[in-house]
């Protein structure tokens, strides 16, 4: 072997904390997402309903304004826990569509371009990669769900006073937990489909389809088998069951809250399994 001059000197500077590295991934995803005017417009649309709720809460706490116009407002306009449940329900519908737009473009381009080895041949794990991609959805969906939800709650608290706040403080937890579960389910579902379906439009369609097909199949199963457990295939109903429990609302979805939680856990586990199977640095050519 030849004799080498050993002049190599490695990088000796500092490193960023390991936990923060996954946050590098969203920066380019956000930059790309905001290039779409349609997405920006749709994102803005997601805030119309929260603004309407703000107006409602304001009016409910300032009935004299309505009374001056002759409306019997006292009996009609009240801020109850159901207001926040419906808020979650409506915003969940927006996030559902938002996820169908955003989700498919997160992982599939990296897989199509064979970029996984590039990501993973660094001190960067598959878990961090998935966390990085998921953070895009979690951040955007949070902006239109629990963050405005908590803002509404704070506004109501400030207008209604200490008594109302003390009696209803649990609503804040319900908003946060309910919406985070929804975001988790949606994000995992979108990422899993993005990892397995390379064609963006098909993946987006499937995100929508999973809910519709599940609902249809569940209803069919209920009719044929004369059971109520077909409803577990209807993710919308499953989530509504959980939210209803969180918001102390009587929902007649036909399934127990425990069954709904198990269903959500199973869906998340399947999505994680699909992601782990697909997000890896190599492909086997048979």
């Amino acid at each position: 072997m030849a004799v080498y001059k050993r002049t190599y000197a490695a990088y000796e500077g500092s490193f960023t904390p390991t936990w923060s590295r996954f946050l590098i991934l969203p920066r380019y995803s956000f930059a790309r997402l905001w290039q779409s005017k349609f997405l920006v417009m749709f994102f803005m649309t997601c805030f119309f309903y929260p603004l309407g709720c703000v107006a409602y809460i304001y009016l409910a706490n300032n009935l004299s304004i309505l009374s001056s116009f002759g409306f019997p407002a006292g009996r009609l306009i009240k801020v109850e826990p159901s207001l926040f449940l419906y808020f979650c329900w409506v915003q969940a519908a927006f996030t559902y569509l938002l996820t169908a737009f955003i989700g498919p473009s997160l992982i599939s381009p990296d897989l199509v371009n064979g970029a996984m080895p590039l990501y993973l041949c660094r001190p960067f794990s598959r878990t961090e990669y998935i966390a990085g991609k998921m953070s895009v959805l979690v951040f955007l969906l949070s902006l239109v769900t629990w963050i405005p939800g908590l803002i509404l709650f704070v506004i109501q608290c400030s207008l209604a006073g200490w008594e109302w706040t003390r009696a209803n403080i649990w609503i804040a937890g319900s908003i946060f937990v309910g919406m985070m579960i929804w975001i988790l389910v949606l994000s995992l579902l979108a990422l899993a489909l993005s990892a397995w379906i390379k064609w963006k439009i098909a993946a987006g369609g499937l995100v929508l389809g999973v809910f519709f097909a599940g609902a249809g199949f569940g209803t069919a199963l209920n009719s044929v088998m004369r059971t109520k457990y077909g409803t577990l295939l209807n993710l919308t109903e499953v989530m509504f069951t959980i939210w209803s429990k969180l918001f102390r609302w009587q929902a007649d979805t036909g399934i127990s809250v425990e069954a709904a939680w198990i269903c959500v856990s199973v869906v998340c586990a399947i999505c994680l399994w699909l992601l782990v199977r697909r997000v890896r640095a190599f492909e086997v050519v048979k």
Binding site: M1, A2, Y4, K5, R6, T7, Y8, A9, A10, Y11, G13, S14, F15, T16, T18, R21, I24, L25, R27, Y28, R32, P109, D110, N113, G114, A115, M116, P117, L118, Y119, L120, C121, R122, P123, F124, S125, A281, F282, V284, V285, K286
Partner: protein
């Protein structure tokens, strides 16, 4: 810290598909070429060394670091894959910068090292253009730049010379030599046997997942006793030299060139042949040149792998 890459009885199966089987290697610093036909296990071996694939059996140590410890491994190791694998929409600068950030370098260091790496592969002018608009050669160079950006001690490069024009190829090979001269490992896979022959300090020949030969090209060649060494001699009195050469017991075949100005000799003992040739030259045969005809990677490939390929 060890200065070698140790691969100890490593096997990797993808279900029923064989990646590599019972591979044992000890790779010293310098330029090491992985040579073999498609599906021979070159990329799998690279993936194993870089920890992207875990071995089914056996163990690997890269400079004493296990590939299962990416935090330490990728401080000293870099990998450029065979395929164009660029996240969409990035410029060359963003591409390298973002991967340095993923490696944990702070912003200022990333800016500086990105600019330096791009400069080393001569892509300065195209640094802020989108990679989607790059030529094949530019893509190869930006991949190389991302690999060298964090100044690794082990460079693993899958087909790094594909698509490069002759000038850039020469520059890239010069860069490899520079790295090797600094005591780094440069592991390249290539199908361009001529270049492998030119640049490699050692070669690893793979076939069907097995290592069929490893070491310095000449050393490997000398161990292949079933294929006598071929030596081309250009001389003035070829007939006389042929008759004298054929008297040697280790010479198995002599062929005269059609023009009568030289001969091809096949010998089982090259060292003894070269000694004998010195004596013959002193006896009045005018020898113009002596050159080994099959002392290169091409011949190794042909002898060791070509046969298997043809029998498939």
């Amino acid at each position: 810290m060890s200065d070698r890459i140790q691969v100890d009885n490593v096997s990797r199966f993808y279900g029923e598909v064989l990646g590599v089987n019972r591979v044992t290697l000890s790779i010293p610093p310098g330029i090491t070429s992985l040579v073999g036909p498609n599906g021979s296990g070159k990329t799998t071996l690279m993936n194993l060394i870089t920890g992207l694939v875990r071995p089914t059996r056996g163990s690997i140590q890269v400079l004493g670091i296990s590939p299962a410890d990416p935090e330490r491994l990728f401080r000293v190791c870099a990998y450029a894959t065979q395929f164009d694998s660029f996240p969409r929409g990035m410029t060359g600068f963003q591409f390298i910068y973002s991967y340095l950030r993923l490696s944990g370098l702070p912003h200022a260091d990333c800016q500086r090292t990105t600019a330096f790496a791009i400069g080393r592969v001569n892509l300065g002018e195209a640094a802020h253009r989108k990679i989607a608009g790059y030529s094949k050669g530019m893509r190869q160079r930006i991949k190389l730049a991302q690999a060298i950006a964090h100044d690794p001690r082990v460079l693993v490069l899958d087909e790094p010379l594909n698509g490069l024009d002759p000038l850039v190829r020469a520059e890239t090979i010069a860069l490899f030599r520079e790295f090797a001269a600094e005591g780094r490992h440069v592991i390249v896979s290539s199908h361009i046997l001529h270049e492998v022959d030119t640049i490699s300090d050692q070669v690893i020949l793979l076939s069907n997942g097995y290592v069929v030969a490893e070491g310095q090209i000449r050393g490997v060649r000398e161990e292949m006793s079933e294929h006598p060494m071929q030596v081309i001699i250009r001389c003035t009195r070829a007939n006389l030299l042929a008759s004298r050469v054929f008297e040697q017991d280790h010479v198995v075949e002599v062929r005269l060139h059609a023009d009568g100005g030289g001969l091809l000799v096949k010998t089982r003992d090259a060292d003894r042949f070269y000694k004998a040739l010195n004596h013959l030259a002193l006896d009045g045969v005018g020898i113009e040149s002596v050159a080994p005809a099959d002392d290169n990677v091409n011949s190794l490939y042909e002898y060791l792998i070509g046969g298997e390929e043809s029998t498939r």
